[in-house]
Chain length 206, copies 3
């Protein structure tokens, strides 16, 4: 395994952790029991990838064959449930860990689509949904309109990373393309947090 691949894989583990924490926190926020919090944590961490694999015909989905990812997610959920009051101080950091994961999720999701021979449309969708799908599923299960539909520059960062991956996959190795794609998405997302980027709304007076 090359060094760049190792970087993307490490970013992926950071993302699984951050996504699982965000799902469990949403469950706590909605006053769910421990099963509900665990389900929301797992759905946030793996829902995007499972949907992508189902659409790509890649079944059973990767998530059911990735023991390390599962163990990391369960650890993240357990820590969140046991120490959520103490975590309050660290919650401000969550979007940054989440951004690291978003980049890896988008790059890995796009790579799965490339591997099964999907075209540009499929690759960009797979990157976007692997990154943003978990959060969409989390919010629907919590009875809310998905956050990424109303605020912030989030899914769009994954979308751009997916487009970059597709273009780069023609001119360089997949490993380099994934590394650059993951890094670009993460940097775009972090910049959007720092500078308060939002996509325009259509109804200005809403």
């Amino acid at each position: 395994m090359g060094v760049l691949e190792l970087v993307v894989l490490t970013m992926n583990y950071v993302g699984v952790f951050a996504f699982a924490v965000s799902g469990a926190l949403k469950g706590i926020d909605k006053n769910m029991d421990v099963f509900g919090c665990a389900f929301l944590g797992l759905a946030t961490a793996f829902g995007g990838g499972i949907t992508r694999d189902i659409i790509a015909g890649n079944v059973p989905p990767l998530a059911f064959r990735s023991e390390p990812d599962f163990i990391i997610a369960i650890a993240a959920i357990t820590i969140t449930i046991c120490m959520y009051r103490k975590l309050a101080n660290a919650v401000g950091l969550l979007p940054y860990f989440d951004a690291v994961g978003l980049g890896a999720f988008a790059a890995l999701g796009g790579a799965v689509a490339l591997n099964v021979g999907l075209g540009p449309l499929g690759v960009v969708f797979a990157a976007m949904f692997t990154g943003a799908g978990g959060g969409i599923i989390r919010d629907v299960l919590a009875g809310e309109v998905p956050l990424v539909f109303t605020r912030e520059f989030y899914a769009t960062a994954a979308l751009i990373g997916g487009a970059g991956l597709y273009v780069l996959s023609w001119v360089t190795t997949l490993e380099v393309a994934m590394f650059v794609s993951a890094l670009s998405t993460t940097i775009l997302r972090i910049a959007s947090i720092r500078f308060g980027w939002n996509l325009p709304r259509v109804k200005m007076d809403g």
Copy 2:
């Protein structure tokens, strides 16, 4: 390609356009940003067909391989976002375009189920869900109880079209069966709008 097939295909494009507009309008109504509006537009136009293809084992779903449909949906979403204030006068026509699409979606959805060898149950479900599934997904993503569950004669029209397709497929060519099925669904749906048909509710005092 025969003339009847061409009619059904044209109806399908009208439907992709109308479904994408209705999804984008729902996003605007919910004060979503442009990404949310685009996602809702695409989910409304293609969500029913994608779900049908996943259930039928027809992956990657047709929607990811239909460039013309995708371009039409993106055009519909762009027009809706850019001119939604001016569209207000045209919104009253939307249900009629939608009805044209519903017929084509149901007939094409039922034909996919016939092609993969599903029985009557599968054909009727595929027709109904290809037609009504996009709207169900749109409403769930917008945090609402799906409209087709509470009002109007909509999914039932697609269901009848699917049943007609299945019966006709035994006595005539698939092309004729699809044409008659699509037209029947559309006529039923338009009649229901004109005459204010609703399915009975169970709880009369609700």
Copy 3:
């Protein structure tokens, strides 16, 4: 077919009936029309199994090939719609019928996962989601936060049944394993109703 298999199959039919009734009742409660009530009834009875089959690559899902199950569900929905006022007295029994079904659904779901060669994670998830997934889908379609996320010892009973099935499948025949698993889940669930078990919530002051 052995006697134990017959018991599990009978339990499954009881479950299909109870699940379809609970979905149709939710539709009535939400003031839906007959189509909405029927859709919710079918989604509750078959949604968990359909999702499991899609994830396991077992398409078209079993539910589209099981005529007896479908007929039972339609009968349950029809009875519920026609006699829901008279049913009010019987609704208190529903959780017990539901518990019988939960056991069978979990055991049958876990067995499907074993058959396609999934590991312990997949078997436990399949058992849990086959049992609890229908109710989750029902509540999301009705615009509510799924009940199993916030209250009661329900999905956890199916989860334990799935784990039992996996362990037992190594030491005895699949038929015996399924019988013991189904019975354990049902007994656990009924005990939880009788004794008011709930999983702990994380936010105690919520």
